[in-house]
C-alpha cells in the first residue's frame, strides 16, 4: 500500500528525517513512535507532500508520489490530520467537515457522511454550528480526525491525535481509529508519543529518534521485548 524507501526530509539546512524506510498495510495500523523533535511529523508531511523530500522515494500503490503535488495525493486517497490543532478556526464544525468532504472522492453523499461523523462523535453533532476555533481541545482533535475520515481515505496519516487529551478520550479516539480501519481496510500511519497506548492498537511499530528509525517490528513483539523501558530510554 505505502512504502517509504530511504526517505530524507530537509528544511533549509536541518535534516528532520534521515533515510527512513517504512511500510504500511491496508486495514492495519502502523505506529510511528518517538519524542517530539524525533521527526514523526516530518515523516507524515513527507508522505502527504507538504514537506521537502531531499532524498529517497515514497511509493503509493507501487507508484512513486514524487511528481504529485499535495492536493493530487489527497485526491488519490491519502489524508493527513496535522498536529497542532490545524483546522479552519473561523469556520463552523460542519463547514470544516463539508470542506474536507467537498474536495475528497465523495463516495457517499455529504448528509450520510456527516451523519456518520456525528454518530461516532455526538458532541460534534451538538456543536455543529460552533466555530471550530471555539471548541475544546478534545473536540478539536475529534474534528480534525473526522475531517480525515469523512474523506473516506485509503491511507490515513494521523499526527498525534492524543495530543494534550485526557487518557479516557485518547482511548476512545484510538478505538474509533481501529474500528474505522478494520471496517474499511484503511491503512493507518499513526504518529504518537504515547507509545504504550499506540502499541495497544497498532499492528506495527517504528521508533524514531533524531530522524532515524532506531527499532521497528510487530507491535506485540515490541511489547514483549519490554518496549516500555527501551522506549523510556529512547525518550527520557
Amino acid at each position: 500500500m505505502l512504502e517509504l524507501k530511504n526517505v530524507s526530509v530537509t528544511y533549509g539546512t536541518i535534516r528532520a528525517l534521515r533515510g527512513v524506510d517504512l511500510v504500511a498495510q491496508p486495514g492495519q495500523i502502523t505506529a510511528v513512535l518517538g519524542a517530539n523533535g524525533a521527526g514523526k511529523s516530518s515523516l507524515l508531511r513527507a508522505i502527504a507532500g507538504i514537506a521537502p523530500v531531499s532524498d529517497g522515494d515514497v511509493l503509493y500503490r507501487n507508484a512513486s508520489l514524487k511528481p504529485r503535488p499535495a492536493h493530487q495525493r489527497a485526491r488519490m486517497g491519502i489524508s493527513l490530520a496535522m498536529e497542532g490543532r490545524r483546522l479552519f478556526r473561523h469556520m463552523s464544525v460542519e463547514e470544516n467537515l463539508l470542506l474536507a468532504w467537498s474536495f475528497g472522492p465523495r463516495h457517499s453523499p455529504f448528509t450520510d457522511a456527516v451523519q456518520a461523523v456525528y454518530d461516532a462523535f455526538p458532541i460534534l453533532g451538538d456543536r455543529r454550528s460552533i466555530k471550530a476555533g471555539m471548541l475544546l481541545g478534545g473536540q478539536q482533535q475529534m474534528l480534525i480526525l473526522s475531517s480525515v475520515t469523512i474523506r473516506e481515505p485509503d491511507l490515513m496519516l494521523l499526527d498525534e491525535p492524543s495530543l494534550g487529551l485526557a487518557p479516557i478520550i485518547v482511548s476512545q479516539i484510538f478505538d474509533f481509529i481501529t474500528a474505522y480501519s478494520k471496517a474499511r481496510g484503511t491503512a493507518v500511519v499513526l504518529a504518537e508519543q504515547m507509545a504504550v497506548m499506540a502499541l495497544r492498537v497498532a499492528h506495527w511499530g517504528y521508533v524514531l529518534r533524531g530522524g532515524q528509525v532506531v527499532m521497528h517490528g510487530a507491535s506485540d513483539e515490541l511489547v514483549k521485548a519490554d518496549i516500555v523501558n527501551k522506549l523510556s530510554a529512547a525518550y527520557l
Binding site: 492536493h71 489524508s79 490545524r86 479552519f88 473561523h90 469556520m91 470542506l99
Partner: protein, 294 residues
C-alpha cells in the same frame, strides 16, 4: 428632508460601487496578502475596451464581455508576472512597485491607442432622465440599477463563498495554504481564479461608474481605487459584508459631509475617518482579529 434623502440615496449607490472595488481588493488580499495597485487601471480598461468595441460597430454587450474577459485575464497575468515571482522576497514590498507598474503600463497603453481625452461611454442602463419617485423622493433609475447590480454581486459573492465548494476553498487557502493542500484543494488554481474574479469585479465597477459619469479616460479609476481601499479597510479586510457596509458607510458619509458641512471637505473627512478607524479598530467593522502565536 428630501434634501437629506437625496444625499443618502446617492451615498448608498456610490458606496455600493466602492463596495465592489473593495471586494476585488479583498480577493487578491486573501489569496496573496497583497493589494493590486493595478485595480484602478483595470476598471478603466474594461470601460475603454467596451467603448472601443462599440465604436467598432459591435453590440455594447459584446464590448462589455470583451472588457470583462480581458480584465480577468490581465488580473491573472498580474499575479503570475508581478506578484508570484517576488512573493518569497518577504518584506521587500516589491509588489507595490510591480503592480503599480502594471497599472501605469495600462494607462500608457490606453492614452496611446485611445487618446488621452475622455471617451464617451454610452448609457445602456436607462438614461439619466429616467427615475422612479418614492414618497416624493426622486430616485434615479440609473442609480437604482447600479445599486441593484452592485448589491446583487456582493450577495452572489457571499453566497459563492459560503455555499459553494470553491468559495470555501478560497477561504481555506486564505486561512492556511498547507492545510488547504492536504484537503485536496489545488491552491495555485484557487489563487489564479481569485485574481480573475477580482479583475472581473474591477471591470464591472468600472463600467458602472462610467454609467454615472458618461465618460472614461486613461486616468480614470485611481481615486476610485483609493475609495475602494478605504471602504475595504473600514469594513475590515477579508469580510464581504464588511466591504459592502464599509463602502456604503463611506458613500453616505461623503455625501452628508458634502451636503451639510462643505463639499470641499468630503475627501479630507474620508481620510481622517480612515486613520481614526485604523487606530481604533485595525481589524475594521466586521474583520476578524488575526491570532498571532509566539
Amino acid at each position: 428632508m428630501i434634501f437629506a434623502a437625496q444625499l443618502v440615496f446617492a451615498g448608498i449607490c456610490v458606496g455600493a460601487v466602492y463596495a465592489l472595488i473593495a471586494l476585488g481588493l479583498n480577493l487578491t488580499f486573501w489569496a496573496t496578502r497583497t493589494m493590486n495597485f493595478a485595480q484602478g487601471s483595470l476598471m478603466m480598461l474594461c470601460a475603454v475596451i467596451a467603448v472601443g468595441v462599440l465604436s467598432g460597430g459591435f453590440n455594447i454587450y459584446l464590448g462589455l464581455f470583451a472588457g470583462l474577459a480581458l480584465t480577468g485575464i490581465i488580473a491573472a497575468a498580474t499575479e503570475a508576472i508581478a506578484i508570484r515571482p517576488i512573493a518569497h522576497l518577504t518584506g521587500s514590498m516589491g509588489w507595490v512597485v510591480t503592480t503599480l507598474g502594471v497599472g501605469i503600463f495600462l494607462q500608457g497603453f490606453v492614452s496611446k491607442f485611445f487618446g488621452s481625452q475622455a471617451l464617451a461611454f454610452p448609457s445602456f442602463l436607462f438614461s439619466a432622465r429616467d427615475y422612479v419617485s418614492v414618497f416624493g423622493i426622486r430616485l434615479s433609475a440609473q442609480y437604482m440599477i447600479i445599486l441593484a447590480i452592485a448589491v446583487l454581486l456582493v450577495l452572489l459573492f457571499e453566497l459563492f463563498l459560503k455555499r459553494t465548494a470553491w468559495g470555501r476553498a478560497l477561504q481555506a487557502v486564505a486561512a492556511d495554504q498547507d492545510l488547504a493542500a492536504v484537503m485536496g484543494i489545488p491552491v495555485r488554481v484557487v489563487v489564479t481564479l481569485s485574481f480573475i474574479a477580482s479583475g472581473v469585479l474591477a471591470g464591472v465597477a468600472g463600467v458602472l461608474v462610467a454609467q454615472i459619469t458618461g465618460t472614461v479616460d486613461a486616468a480614470f479609476g485611481f481615486n476610485l481605487l483609493i475609495s475602494g481601499f478605504v471602504a475595504a479597510v473600514i469594513g475590515g479586510m477579508g469580510s464581504t459584508w464588511g466591504a459592502l457596509l464599509g463602502g456604503i458607510f463611506l458613500g453616505i458619509m461623503e455625501k452628508l459631509v458634502g451636503g451639510y458641512i462643505s463639499t470641499a471637505a468630503e475627501q479630507g473627512i474620508a481620510f481622517a475617518l480612515l486613520m481614526v478607524m485604523l487606530a481604533v479598530r485595525p481589524e475594521g467593522l466586521l474583520g476578524e482579529k488575526e491570532f498571532v502565536k509566539v
